[in-house]
Every structure is written in C-alpha cells, then in structure tokens.
Symmetry: C2
Subunit: 358 residues, 2 copies
C-alpha cells in the first residue's frame, strides 16, 4: 500500500497515538512517536523499530494525540514548526480545543487551514501504549469536524488518512460531535462510575446486568479528567436531564404512571442506537444454550452451528456467582433460528429460544 | 430424582412461575399452574401436559409467582385454602410483602409459620411464559429471607426446594435483601432506562459502551412497575446517593479533583462485584481476535482454542456501526494467555493482548 503520508510525527504515545503509529508503520510509513513520559517514549521507540523517522526528518503530517487540556498548545506549535505539514488532532472533545487554537494562535489563516480536528471512536477502558494495536480503528467510526478555514483538499486528505487507518470517516460539526459524545460516551462513563461507586457491603445477589452496567467503571481516571472537564458545556446539561428524569421517579414515589412513562422513553431511546453493520438495528432471534464449564465445549458448540452453515451474529456468555456451567446466548437471523435449535437439540445441547431482542 | 414436593400449585404463569413449573415437572412432580391471564393460562396448560395436577388435588406446596403488588393477598388465601401446604413467595421485593401479610392476614402463627419468602435471581429482560426454561435457575443465587415465625423445618424444606430447582440458597434478612436488590438490580435498571431515554438525534458515533449500558432498557415496564414501587423505601435513598454524586461533579464543573475522586470510588466499588464461581472476582487476561463476518469462523477459532486445551472463561463480541468484521475478546486464566496467543497467531489469526480485566 502507498501510504497517504510517507513521514508522520505522532505526539503522545498513549493507546490511540501508539495504535495510529503502529498502523502507519504497518502501511509502510516512517514515524516519529514522541511523549514526555519517559516510559511511554521507551515503549514507543521499541515499537517503531526500523520505521523510525529520525530527529531531523520533516513530517508531512503531525498527529496530536495528547490529553485534550494541552492539545491546543501542541497543535499551534506543530503548525508553526512544520509549515508544510497537515496537523491532525484526534482528541475526544472538539469545540473547546478549536476555540483555544483560534484564540491563542495567530489569526493566520494559512496556519489554521492546515489544522484538521478529528476523533476516532475507539475503546477507552484501557490506556497506555501497552494496549495499542494496529487494528484498533478497524471499521470504527472516526469523526472529522472541520472548521471554516479547512480547504476541501485538507478535508479530503484527512478522510484518506482515516480510511488508511481502517476506519470510516464521519463528518460532523464540532458542536454536533461534542453533543453526541456527551450522550454516547461521556454520560455512560459517568453513570457506570456512579453506579459502581454506590455499591457497598456483600453483593451475594448480583447478576449480569450489574456487571454490564459497571464495566466502564474500570476506566483510567487520568484519561477522563481532561475529557470530562473539556466537554463540561455539553455534558453538564445532558447529565442534568438524566438526573431530572430519575428525580421525577423518586419524587413520584415510583408510581405506576411515572415508571411506565420513564421506561417507555428508555425503550424508545434504545432503538436509536445503531447495531452491527450500522444503520437501523436488526432484530435478531436468540437461542440460550447451556454449556458445561470445561475446555472444548465452545468449540463443539460452534462446530455444530457451522454444520448447518448458520452465521452467529452476536453472542453473550452469562455467569453467576457459584455457577459451574455457563449459559450462552446466540443471536442469529430470525429465519435461521428453528434450523439451529432443531440441530443443536438433536445433538444433545440443552437449548431454549430467547426473545427477539438485541 | 425424588421430588421434594409431589404436588405443587404455581400461581402466576410468567417467566419465573412457568420456569419453576417446568423444572418441577422435569423432576417428576405434578403441577397446577394457574394465571388470570387466559393467554398465559393456555400456554401453561400446554406446557404441563400429562403432569397436570387436577383441580381437586391438594398441593403440598404453593408457589406465589404473581406481581408483587398482589402477592400478599394471594399468599394469605393460599395459606387458608391449603392448611397443610408450605407457601413459597418468589417475588422481587420482600419487606413490603412480608409487612402486608403480617398486617392484612390473621395473626395466626400456625398460618404464618408456613409462609416462606424467597427470591430467585434470574433474568428480568424477558417476561411471559414463552421465555420460560426449566434451567432458568441453574447455579443462580436464590435468596431465602425467613421471618421469625418460620420454623427450622420450613427453612430447611425451602432450601431443599431451591436446590432441586438447580439454584443456590442464600440466607438474608428481608431488609438486607431489599437493600441489595436496590443496589444490584433496581438501580442498574433505572440508570439503563434513564440513559437510553436521554438519547436523541442521529447517533453515528456510538460504541459498545453505550450498548452495554442500555441493554436493560429493553425490559418490560409491566414487570418493573410493581417491583420499583414496592421497593421505593430502599431504592429511593439509594438513587438519591447516586444522583448526589453526579450533581457534585456538575456543580464542580468536572474539575480534576472531583472527577478523580468520583472515578476512584467507581473503580473501588466495581471490585465488590462477585465474578464467575462466586467469591472474589478473578483477574483473567484477555486476547482480542479479529474474526471475519461469515459462517464457521467462530467454530474455527474455538477449535483452535481447544487444540491447546485452554478453557475460555468468558468472551465478548464487539460490533460497531458499518463494521464488516467483528472483534472478539477471549478471557482466559493469565497463565494460559501466551500459549493461546502463540498458537492462534501461528495459525494466522490476527490477535493482540488486552488488559487483565473483567
């Protein structure tokens, strides 16, 4: 593959910066990956190996992958230092950084023209270069939030870079972006941490729902401190709406009408979330299968699914405290359900239809 | 198997009542399953078949599996109608129903002695008899919340019944139970519905975190209306603590110290959740593997895992909008990780270590 940029400087060797660097190298580019954290810098240098862009090399592109509270400063420096490079910011919050670049930087439209704000939607539960992987962005949405000084050429170059990363470019305004991530990423993080933080005592009765609802609470606070603060303007009002809906339930003492309206709003909202393959979520049918807790059982099960050439669209394993066996839920196209159920039952698997839901 | 009770009446042919009936029949018992909903009653009769306890038969046990707002009344009636039967309530909320039985029923301690409050921890995303399965309780915790009139003999009988259902008896006071389910089941449901209900517009940037955090929002409001209202006393104050922690963040404009304390509290709380096999959660290691989106790939992958005799402790599939391939995360014992990674890489799977987290 002919890389969009032969030489790239990546500033910030965290999960995202390092993953971008790995993908660039894989695609045949030369990369200088720098980080003020000496541990990160060391890991980064080991990863770059022979593809290291030397200290004097002029990058065609600079990727700013720093925490969002310092990214405006880094962006302005990069624009001044490399007068021919495109500077691509990949931070999680867009409006505030754009505003800072605009107000702190010179009002030099040639400089600003080369600054393209973007944001890849990739995992945030992990952090640091050790978790980096070249395929982190594979088929993920990657927002481009251009500003008026960006030429069509710069936007096009950014989209080509994003495609090269394996991701799917999505154009939004910076304001739309910040509203969307407040809803789809920042509020879920807050609710997961709030729920986990409210737990106390022995939890003998906890189930899968609680585990799903608190998984994000493992996230690294260092990653989130600058993000949440930078997006306070969009996040605060959104959380207030959520809090208000909960307070209304409490104030009405969970009366029938309030609970019904509240839960119906939730059922309608969850339909907005795109499913696999994007667009409108599909309704799959599900089959619950009991699996003994020993090596090889999953292999046996999926072999039997493959016998009848049925594609498993999604799956979930459920475990509970003290459980020796597991319950796996297979999601398949509705038309495939009875074939699969008949086949597995015949072969001795204990299985039951679930609901059409995902 | 010799069933604990030869003849049982199950009142309420919803998901839980019907699943209990199915398991009783499977274990060789005779069952009368009754429901005021004619559709449920019809499904129930079909399911019972030859194991139907006829209308005149005296049950040794009555299972009350009605919505919690009517269960006290049903319990009292059953205690009076069948003077030799144990009456086992399986509702999701304990204190309020116990109080109602106590105040509305006669203060006849022989009557009350035979009433045993319990609660199986089983899935609540689905409802109705169609979703019932005899193994619904397999290895799940099942709370027994006895009251002072219960004799040791009645408690013992209840524990034997629960074990026969495949579940694991857990003794708690009714108050402990209601506090725990407020924390581990009712609050997660509220937060999932609140988050889903807050969604609006096009959600081009949503990822797996949002999907995990809103899965419970699919739940049936009819099931939850009586539960939430009956547990208002425990749930209200718990939700207020959660809301307070979120309001504090908003009021402090997401400043560094507030976010840090808030998220650290979440990280510490999530450690309290029991993992697979109960007790202290294990730390598994994870391996991310890219899987092409076509039939047979999962079978191939699990065959390759079975080659090296490694037990997959848990797994997750991640899909994003527009994604053609999937990313599967396999959780294994930390000591097994490098063996599995080496083996899969050699066979051409694209895989990368994740973090030690679950």
């Amino acid at each position: 593959m002919n890389p969009v940029f032969k030489a790239t400087e990546v500033i910030g060797a965290g999960l995202i910066g390092t993953s971008i660097a790995l993908k660039l190298v894989k695609n045949g580019g030369f990369v200088r990956l720098i980080d003020p954290n000496t541990h990160h810098q060391k890991v980064a240098n080991q990863l770059m190996g022979a593809a290291l862009l030397d200290g004097e090399g002029q990058p065609e592109c600079v990727i700013v992958a720093t925490p969002v509270d310092v990214s405006a400063m880094v962006i302005i420096e990069a624009l001044r230092l490399y007068p021919n490079a495109i500077v691509i910011d990949i931070g999680s919050v867009k409006t505030k950084v754009l505003h800072e670049v605009w107000t702190k930087g010179e009002k030099n439209s040639d400089l600003l023209r080369r600054y393209l704000p973007t944001h890849p939607m990739a995992g945030r539960e992990f952090s640091g270069p050790e978790g980096a992987q070249s395929d982190l962005f594979e088929s993920r949405p990657w927002a481009i939030t251009p500003h008026p000084e960006n030429s069509a050429e710069i936007r096009e170059l950014g989209a080509r870079f994003i495609t090269e990363m394996g991701a799917i470019p999505q154009s939004l305004t910076p304001e739309e972006h910040d509203q969307q991530v407040a809803m789809t990423s920042h509020a879920p993080q807050i609710l997961a941490s709030a729920l986990a933080g409210s737990l106390s005592g022995e939890l003998a009765l906890s189930g899968q729902g609680l585990r799903d609802m608190t998984r994000l609470a493992h996230s690294d606070p260092d990653v989130w401190i600058s993000i949440l603060s930078a997006n306070a303007a969009a996040l605060g009002p959104h959380l207030q709406r959520i809090v208000k809906s909960i307070n209304l339930l409490i104030d009405n003492n969970f009366d029938q009408q309030s609970v019904l309206e509240f839960m119906e709003r939730g059922r309608s909202g969850v339909q907005r979330i795109p499913g696999k393959h994007g667009g409108i979520p599909r309704n799959y049918s599900s089959l619950n299968v009991v699996i003994p807790d020993r090596a090889g059982q999953l292999a046996a099960l999926f072999n039997h699914c493959a016998d009848v050439k049925i594609n498993i669209e999604d799956l979930r394993i459920e475990h509970s405290p003290g459980q020796e066996t597991g319950l796996i839920t297979l999601y398949v196209q509705t038309g495939d359900l009875s074939t699969l159920e008949d086949h597995l039952s015949t072969l001795g698997w204990q299985c039951t239809e679930g609901k059409k839901i995902i």
